[in-house]
Symmetry: none
Subunit: 419 residues, 2 copies
Amino acid sequence: MPEGAPRDAEIIAVGSEMLTPQRLDTNSLFITDQLNALGVEVRRKVIVGDDRANLVEAVQRALRRADLVIVTGGLGPTEDDLTRESVAEALGRELTLRQDLLAAVEERFRRRQRRMAENNKKQAYVVDGAEALPNPHGTAVGQWIREGSKVVMMLPGPPGELKPMFAEQCVPRLASLLPAQSIRMRLYRVTGMTESDLDHLIAPVYTKYSNPVTTILASPGDIQIHLRARCTTESEAERLLAEVGGAIEDLLGDRIFSRNGDSLEAVVGEMLRARGATLAVAESCTGGMLAERITSIPGSSGYFAGGFITYSNEMKQRALGVAAELIERHTAVSEEVARAMAEGARERSGATFAISTTGEAGPESNTGAPVGTVYVGFAGPDGALEAKRFNLPGDRTRVRMFATQGALDYLRRKLLERT
Amino acid sequence: MPEGAPRDAEIIAVGSEMLTPQRLDTNSLFITDQLNALGVEVRRKVIVGDDRANLVEAVQRALRRADLVIVTGGLGPTEDDLTRESVAEALGRELTLRQDLLAAVEERFRRRQRRMAENNKKQAYVVDGAEALPNPHGTAVGQWIREGSKVVMMLPGPPGELKPMFAEQCVPRLASLLPAQSIRMRLYRVTGMTESDLDHLIAPVYTKYSNPVTTILASPGDIQIHLRARCTTESEAERLLAEVGGAIEDLLGDRIFSRNGDSLEAVVGEMLRARGATLAVAESCTGGMLAERITSIPGSSGYFAGGFITYSNEMKQRALGVAAELIERHTAVSEEVARAMAEGARERSGATFAISTTGEAGPESNTGAPVGTVYVGFAGPDGALEAKRFNLPGDRTRVRMFATQGALDYLRRKLLERT
């Protein structure tokens, strides 16, 4: 790697509106994506208000820690816009009015037949030694400032201005500072285990490697494993991914449901489509969430027949033909009722397969079964009729999410058995 | 204000996943809202990875600047979870294993009939001098630490754990540190108009007042108007809210569906319950999302009979008895089919009322009707049978969300007519 090639970055987002309960800094996601593709990691993000002392300190601290400091926002024409002054102060440099930039801003107003306010003049000031980054979509000029081996960038806050400026002006400048390199990614999605169990299982593999970098992201019933390899050649990056990814695949086996980032509903949908099969659902505790997930996939009408939301016992009988005495004998939250619901949904829809959910999502239990108890039923051709019990953690929303994930994964495994 | 009453806060969100292009720290929005309601401002937000040196420095710096330091995330059981150790180091204190907390974590695993991994033991360590904040929804215990006149809080990252802990445990502790003042809030929820139309209508009222503070939050089909008055007496705060709120209510009329923050599904549920009525749904384009929203309300089994997700035309005939020639003549996306679906759902469920959705959610149209065309049907006792057409903006997800909102609001208005 060349001497002084940037390896990490800090992003400072400026604007008091991002310290209210309404607004987040979303520009940093775009910037991070662009930086990661160059092999640069983001180490810290800071959000500060329109407050000069706070901003000066943030820039100075960031410059000590990171190779690249990217300051977004606060480049407008108002009193509140303090990024130019603060970066100049943090670097101990002056601001100078650039006549060519002033002329460009004036021209922009003229073209739109609007009067330029006096305070727009602020936007033509540049830190000494900076390269100005033209802004085709607004009046706020960006700046690119070398500081020893480091770089400070200033970019306007509106995403429609920032994104093209970063991609078209900052990325090529950054690439010229970086060694020739290849970056390759791999993404696994896993269900059916907790994050800590997964980490316990695969940490002995991935912690041996600093390249590829492994990142684990967990949400209820869905864990993502990201691998990112950075090498001088593409084949070396692919070799490293195959080595680490292969070891992870061996450990996780069919708990991996996706190797390309697809959601579980998309994976199951693709399996149904490939088999020319159709699906129906019968939902009690999940109340429509299972069907909602399945139909969130464009084109799901090709394999999804429909569903029955049988929230009451009466609807389980009326819409699915579940026998009243079965519910009486076993309660609605039982293996027997889950099976009968799946069977009824399959028969009454004419679908190839059906899955069902019945359980206690809370806050209270209606049948005496503990909150979190969920049965998933499965019906297939050739008389297949089964059910599985889950004990799920969390509140009503989480139990329902886990239950739909469990139901889709149960179906996935049943379809795998039939390959 | 009493000596040392906290006036400002910094929020430090911990987790390398929030430095990827995929994830934002959204907890800070909730925390900011809660702090603002107490009169505390957020001055800076910092997002750091799972990196001890970086985190220690962030905590130490934040403590110099702010009265309250709130650290979220990094309290899990894995090697990567470093918040406990880092905060202890930043404060120069030790961590001690608390046997009572360990027993509680063990008990939690036992109750779920799952094995506790050895690394979960980490979660029972507490910084010396800290108060442990119990977590009813997970294994990560929070901590409340006085440091001179300042406070450091540690809270788990998952929103479902953090939010109740902050609201129920941190807010009362914070309130006790603050001067006696009365903060009163009012919250309206509105549907059936755009944010800019709403703002145009009510801005002439609310911009006249700096107290109460008015905040407008918009999501698809659902606009929230928050009023927050802060006064030395409760009656003065209530008087201000009544003055501004009353003027806003006069302007918006029955477009306001909630005056206490309740969601539209909760409001409609309460109206059904009050009338001793039951509801069934028949969904095509919304694919279960409507039923999912209705059943997300605890206790909805008291008024929700169930639903039919008739995604295919065959299912519309089989499950709801919609005549094939009706679909043939008008297509599935028509007023006629919407009415027939509602009628079929009402008859086959035995419910008092039924609503239906049929439309084109995109990305492609199946019937020739433009994407965004949605019909909502309504069936009630005494032969009531109606439908309404919506032209909805946005992509598949937004069309489906708007459609469920439109359907629930249509039902709300039909129920209002029958009061």
